[in-house]
Amino acid sequence: MLRWIVWRDLILAWRRRSDILSTVFFFVIVVSLFPLGIGPETQLLRSIAPGVVWVAALLASMLSLGRLFANDYQDGTLEQLLLTPQPLFLVVLGKVLAHWIIAELPLVLIAPLVGVQFDLSKQTLWVLFVSLLLGTPILSLIGSVGAGLTLGLRGGGVLISILILPLYVPALIFGAGAVEATIIGVTPAPNLYLLGAFAVVSLLFAPWAASAALRISLE
């Protein structure tokens, strides 16, 4: 059943390819703005790179979260999803997995490319890729709770950011920390382990919270 939900969302996203591209372009543009704002000194750019790339990934995923449930909510298919004979958190997991593939994976793939703007070494780019690979599921998982809570509310987009960004802080700290560790030559292992641990915690709690949020919003 899970693969059908993911398959359905992938078809839907494929039919509206522009949405995927818009999120990726937003990410690339935000990251490229910083050198323009701060100046081209490579030493400075290298030190801010981890934070810039991670914050840009956070904001880009915030953009696409609004649509996670909203389209299904408007055309009534979300109600039907609540009535499937499978536990609701499986449905949520399917939606989150689909959202991760559609909105987050492109960011992870393009991040090393964008990292080159900040004169990062190959090793650092690789750690950046791994940290985003580990971190972005957290963004989708915790984000799905925010999307579920703010379903159908006016000003939903901004509201999601206020609710969810504080909860992203550990992911940001460990993720950006891992990249920064490699820049200063320290092993990024502890950061990545902690990031992985936080990912597992979110994997456990977020679907339950998101399905509770959906039940409440659809009452």
Partner: protein
């Protein structure tokens, strides 16, 4: 209850297989809320609902294998074609439907030739028929239909009537919120009037 206001109280009835309940009442009298309570989209403030003797809350997800609920919005994705909508909706429900009898169902609902058209080109009435086609393919025993006859032409209403009659003959139960009189030839007809 909606907000802090009680919609209805002291509702106590039991339905045997083959019953058709026509649910009527002015707007805001709680028809939709009753239907949503019956399919657990809404929790009742007090009281409980039993399906075959077991409280539906304790039945958990298995209860949904026996229920089909069609709400105000048809629940059809615009980007998907009518056929995809039907097959995927059922697959998500765990009922694998092959394309033949899916398009067969669409044809009986009068959508011949439009199966592969993305749903956004369909009219509201046609979209409603795609939703109703789900009734043909799913073998659930309890149908909860909320104002599904709106925007349907005469022929489509006739189609729905025959669908419900077959469903009742198979021992199913249908609770339909509508103001149109469906003189059913099969099963027992009950009327439930909700007043404000």
């Amino acid at each position: 209850m909606r907000g802090d206001r009680r919609l209805f109280r002291g509702l106590d009835l039991s339905l045997s297989p083959g019953t058709y309940v026509q649910l009527t009442g002015p707007n805001g009298s709680g028809k939709t809320s009753l239907l949503r309570i019956l399919c657990r989209l809404l929790e009742p403030a007090e009281g409980e609902i039993r399906w075959e003797g077991a409280n539906i809350r304790s039945l958990g997800e298995d209860y949904f294998t026996a229920v089909t609920y069609l709400g105000h919005r048809p629940g059809v994705k615009d980007e998907l074609s009518a056929l995809e909508n039907l097959t995927i909706a059922n697959a998500v429900n765990g009922v694998e439907v092959d394309t033949e009898n899916a398009s067969g169902a669409l044809q009986t609902m009068g959508l011949a030739g439009r199966e592969r058209l993305p749903a956004r080109f369909l009219s509201e009435g046609q979209r409603r028929r795609v939703a109703l086609a789900r009734l043909l393919v799913s073998n659930t025993r309890l149908w909860l239909l909320d104002e599904v006859l709106t925007s349907l032409d005469k022929r489509a209403v006739g189609l729905v009537r025959s669908l419900i009659e077959e469903h009742l003959n198979r021992g199913g139960i249908a609770i339909v919120a509508t103001h149109q009189e469906l003189e059913l030839s099969a099963g027992v007809t009950k009327r439930l009037e909700l007043t404000t």
